[in-house]
């Protein structure tokens, strides 16, 4: 195909995403924050798309949090990552898929560093051998799990039971997409659309029927920023950044937010409660907040999975008004029922922001 003009420019912003046979590594924190997201990703890959995806229970953290908090040096992180690659090599896979944005940025940074400094790669190979007698091959393709959902977004749309559309008015929902900073801000060529026009989530929203909102602080950080949150004295800086984003998106009246990073949905969701308690301000309709989702949760919602199986009861901001808007059925009395209908107990509800 011959690309011309803008098409030609846009082709520079694309990345090669492998079709099948993926080695998957989970995030350290996502399973605590949004526990069904990674499970739903595996479910979609295996049972909806029919792909070969493998995960190994022996993999560990990538060391990204400690690295970005300046707790451990890069050589340590590299050795941890080398071990993950060794596990992939032992399993016979070449396509490495990370669930976490920071891990994805970390792997990209390390592969680029080894590319520039081969002697460092040799040193890490030696360290890994001394530490655990393992050897590794570098992945042929490195992708973030949102890249895969993006690649197969139209297949998901074909199988979808719901669309991101207001069932009463027929209007597309107004959706804010928020990309994790480590996805393409460090290495723009490694993300779909680069750092300037990241399209990975916008593509999903458009395919599933929603309208993407463009607002002034669209590319601003969610406020997590590792050291800005992990040091308690800096948390005011963290929430001030989140507040800035919400103030900027508020006039556009978003129905929902979709994110592709472990930290972003957590902070955009939980800080809405803190802002409501501190300032008495909420950003959704009728005293509710703006619900924040991971892309796997949204994929699960449009595919018709039960909202409580997607773990939406663990969100701080109530998701029910949005489910009603789309027309997704749910059972309010089952919200706080776990597996086998076991009661997982209803939490204390806050006073500043409306919740169920």
């Amino acid at each position: 195909m011959i690309y011309q003009g803008k098409q030609n420019i846009w082709s520079d912003y694309q990345k090669e995403i492998p079709d099948d046979h993926w080695y998957y590594v989970r995030s350290c924190i996502r399973q605590n924050f949004f526990p069904a997201s990674e499970k739903m990703f595996m479910e979609i890959c295996r049972n909806v798309l029919g792909k070969d995806i493998y995960e190994n229970e022996h993999h560990t953290t990538c060391g990204g949090i400690a690295y970005h908090c300046d707790t451990i040096p890069q050589e340590t992180v590299m050795t941890i990552v080398a071990r993950q690659f060794a596990l992939m090599t032992e399993a016979g896979y070449e396509n490495y898929v990370a669930s976490c944005i920071t891990s994805f940025g970390n792997y990209t940074e390390i592969l680029e560093t080894w590319n520039e400094y081969p002697e460092l790669e040799a040193k890490i190979r030696e360290l890994l051998w001394k530490a655990c007698r393992k050897e590794f091959r570098k992945p042929k393709h490195l992708a973030h799990s949102s890249d895969l959902i993006y690649k197969f977004r139209n297949e998901i749309a074909e199988k979808a039971k719901f669309r991101l559309v207001n069932k009463e008015t027929g209007e597309p929902l107004r959706v804010v997409e928020h990309i994790g900073c480590h996805y393409a801000k460090m290495f723009p060529s490694k993300g779909v659309g680069g750092a300037e026009y990241p399209y990975v989530l916008a593509g999903m929203i458009e395919s599933w029927g929603g309208n993407v909102i463009d607002y002034p602080e669209r590319r601003h950080c969610c406020g997590y920023g590792f050291r800005q949150y992990h040091v308690k004295a800096n948390r005011g800086y963290s929430i001030s950044n989140t507040h800035k984003k919400f103030e900027s998106m508020e006039p556009y009246k978003p129905d929902m937010i979709i994110t592709n990073c472990p930290g972003c949905p957590y902070f955009l969701d939980r800080w809405q409660y803190v802002i409501a308690e501190m300032e008495g301000k909420t950003y959704g309709e009728n005293g509710f907040g703006i619900p924040v989702f991971t892309y796997e949760e949204v994929a699960g919602m449009v595919l018709g999975y039960d909202p409580w199986d997607l773990g939406l009861q663990l969100h701080q901001v109530a998701v029910e008004p949005l489910l009603d808007k789309i027309g997704i059925e749910y059972s309010p009395e089952d919200k706080y029922k776990g597996l086998n209908k076991k009661d997982i107990m209803k939490p204390e509800l806050p006073s500043g922001i409306r919740c169920f």
């Binding site: 005011g236 001030s240 308690e277 501190m278």
Partner: protein, 113 residues
Amino acid sequence: MMNIFGFRLSASSAIDMDKVDRTLFDKLCAEEPDARRCMSCGSCSATCPAGEFTGMSVRKVLHNLQRGKEREALKMVSSCMLCGKCNMVCPRGINTRHLILSVCRIYKTEESR
């Protein structure tokens, strides 16, 4: 409201230029077109003998006036000794001393009204 969190929101430092009243800055530019010729190289700040002790900087004065932060600009200007060193080093040949006097005249006249 009581803050139970141990940290608080800080105000954004972003400046909304749509809300800045630029009447006086436009008046300054009309009388002193050099105000628009500054390229913010900082040579004036580097040579200013008052800068190290008082924070005076012609570059920052112009930035603050453009951004509607007049109080900060006038506080800086009050530290100027009119020695003219900035005048000598400006690569754009701006008569900075005259510019500062014009700032004092236009803004302080307006302030005293």
